[in-house]
């Protein structure tokens, strides 16, 4: 086999390969991408980035996700994979606290943020706002899933959203938003609150 021909062919592929690699946000492993020889780049291509892991929801549905994506976002999954207890061929990570619908959303979030982390801030924020356009039930499920999986940026995002539902609103509006029908105060207590803090009402 003419090594020279292969070399030429691979170097022809180089620009495309480089574009693919940067799109997948692959961090150079060791010296693989520092050395620009075509053989090394091809080796990096064939290596770990496309490795997938299996997540199992509470409804026993299996989701296959790129390992990079989940490891970057979820501390729990990162720890599980790092300490080697996860066998890529056979194991699935059981997530009994998270149902399929929520897990799908979480995976969606992590995948988008891994692939688009080079986008500008406004686009990401717009996508996040669209992502959280769910009903309250879905929002709290997402929060609990993010808490269980320890996904810092999703947690901060959801806490921020709930905080904004409270900030700047009057008490009656807050009660309506959160559907708090019974505030649990006696009529005297409620009246005293209204007298003491009229700017809240």
């Amino acid at each position: 086999m003419e090594l020279l021909c292969i070399r030429q062919w691979i170097s022809g592929l180089l620009p495309t390969v480089k574009k693919w690699l940067s799109a997948w946000c692959i961090k150079p492993v060791g010296g693989a991408l520092v050395r620009q020889e075509p053989e090394y780049i091809l080796l990096a291509l064939m290596g770990s980035p496309l490795k997938k892991i299996m997540l199992c929801s509470s409804e026993k549905e299996i989701f296959s996700v790129e390992e990079q994506v989940m490891v970057q976002h979820s501390v729990i999954i990162n720890n599980m994979i790092e300490d080697g207890s996860y066998n890529h061929e056979e194991s699935k990570i059981p997530l009994d606290c998270v149902d399929s619908k929520t897990l799908k959303k979480v995976i969606d979030y992590c995948t988008h943020h891994t692939h688009h982390h080079n986008d500008n801030q406004e686009d990401l924020e717009a996508w996040d706002a669209q992502f959280l356009n769910v009903d309250s039930n879905g929002l709290y499920d997402l929060l609990m899933a993010a808490n269980y999986l320890e996904i810092r940026n999703l947690l901060d995002l959801i806490y921020g959203t709930i905080k904004n539902m409270i900030k700047g609103k009057k008490i009656d509006e807050i009660r309506r938003i959160f559907n708090i029908k019974d505030h649990g105060f006696t009529p005297e207590e409620e009246e005293q609150n209204r007298k003491e803090y009229p700017h809240f009402y």
Partner: protein, 329 residues
Amino acid sequence: MASSSDFALSVPSELESVLRLRTVDYFITRRPWLDLYGVNVRPVAPFGSASRKPYVESALIHQCLPDELLFEVFARMTPYDLGKASCVCRKWRYTIRNPVFWRVACLKAWQLSGVVENYRILQSKYDGSWRKMWLSRPRLRTDGIYVSRNTYIRAGVAEWKITNPVHLVCYFRYMRFFPSGRFLYKNSSQKIKDVVKFMNFRSSKVDSVFGGHYTLSDDKVEAAVLYPGMRPTVLRIRLSVRGTTPGANNRMDLISLVTSGVNNSEASAPEEDILGVVEGWRDDETHNPDVPAVSHKRGMTPFVFVPFDQVETSVFNLPVEKMDYYVPG
């Protein structure tokens, strides 16, 4: 005529024997309390107590979210919003009573005193309750701007039919405080919604926003700001903080406002030292003969606090004709 069939109660045994003895029908005296013997009456909880009704939880957030996550939501809110949230419902009130929130807020608001001193004051004055400290101890709010609206009348130029015109002039003193010990001062006739975007440290000289330093002891504020330039002048402001409701801290009364001159060496001292420079000066003291010490007597209306989220809608934005002349309580 009452007959035995009208009575719901069964005739107690001791009376029955009596009944049998007599031939005349006696009316059975009603003793309704006999009905209650042997009946269990459940105690009714007082109105409003948590055990009164079977607790049907309608709010989704309480059904779904464990308490730790609710805590995390509150941990990210400002103390003002926390106070508001504790009026929403009982569960939130009890969650917010947790001293952690108030400790964080207190240590940040009174950071100038230092952590050790704050703990000492906590024990001696406020019974170890951070929440009490937050509500009772005077502090300078940093989530908005203190505004003092002053008006005066100036004679105008007579023209045509208007023979004795007067103009009502309105100007504002704006003060914005920071927890680090610095503050910003602006004196202008511009409305608050136009001024608020310049009340930060990035403003240039053109915006005429001046920065100075202040100290707070109890409810007394001592602040000093240097006007740089050819004849450097120092403005010394003494204020006392109070509130319309406990913990509001939304009013400041002007005790004294003195402008005096500083000499060149004092003017070129680093900005943080301005308070040290003017410490202990008498009211009529000036270190620059070109700039006499003037203790101002006019334009001393008390300051009213306007939080940032109310700046756009505040009554201070109204033009002079539409303003109510009011004395801030």
